[in-house]
Symmetry: C2
Subunit: 132 residues, 2 copies
């Protein structure tokens, strides 16, 4: 969104770059990212393959917390982020994750659907006019 925000204030990169390379993904990081019900709920919503706006997610936590969880998913390599204006869009990296860890996402999503994990995560419907 604003590429030099961190450097402008802190003089250096403090966190890993977004959208890590596929071959950098670590199994335990992916599993850790999927070990939180809220994050599983987010992944289930993202499983439709569409791009979603941060504001679409209706979660029972503060926006800073949502930002944190989405960063965990992104750092683990599960999501792809794209900044556009003040908005930030997320999409599941299904093909990448499938290539790196075959069947993992399908298996976890099937289990999550079966048990309804993360069902407290919802979406606010988009306004057809503004796209929000």
């Amino acid at each position: 969104m604003f590429a030099n925000y961190r450097t402008s204030r802190l003089g250096g990169v403090r966190h890993p770059e977004p959208n890590p390379d596929v071959d950098r993904l670590m199994l335990t990081d992916v599993l850790a990212a999927l070990s939180d019900p809220l994050r599983v709920g987010l992944v289930r919503l993202l499983a439709d393959g569409e791009e979603h706006n941060f504001g679409e997610f209706a979660v029972p936590v503060a926006k800073s917390t949502l930002s944190h969880h989405l960063k965990v998913l992104n750092t683990a390599g599960l999501t792809w982020r794209r900044d556009e204006g003040t908005r930030c869009y997320v999409r599941l990296r299904r093909a990448d994750v499938d290539a790196r860890f075959p069947n993992l996402l399908d298996t976890v999503l099937a289990a999550a659907d079966q048990d309804d994990v993360g069902s407290h995560v919802g979406t606010t419907p988009c306004d057809p006019g503004t796209g929000r």
Copy 2:
């Protein structure tokens, strides 16, 4: 091993019972248990389907730490424990986990083999005479 150890000193149960029922297993608990390289290494060793003695595991941590990690796996429902004398035997609950979360274990084990996750966990060969 000694069933009333805790109660004899503390007057109550402090931790969940070992070997929880299959239907009690939670997806996020299983994934959390598998999000540690050492525990993944243990599960890979247990994937041979055999019963293993605690002492067989050659891990670069203190024995109390090993005990802790094995408890995490057991509490998550991934292992079955059996006490015999002073020894404690562990076995992977493959059928149970498969029934509850189809393909999950196979998928994670395949990914772990591919990346050689937890390869710092080994075994000390058994003495044919004593079984250790």
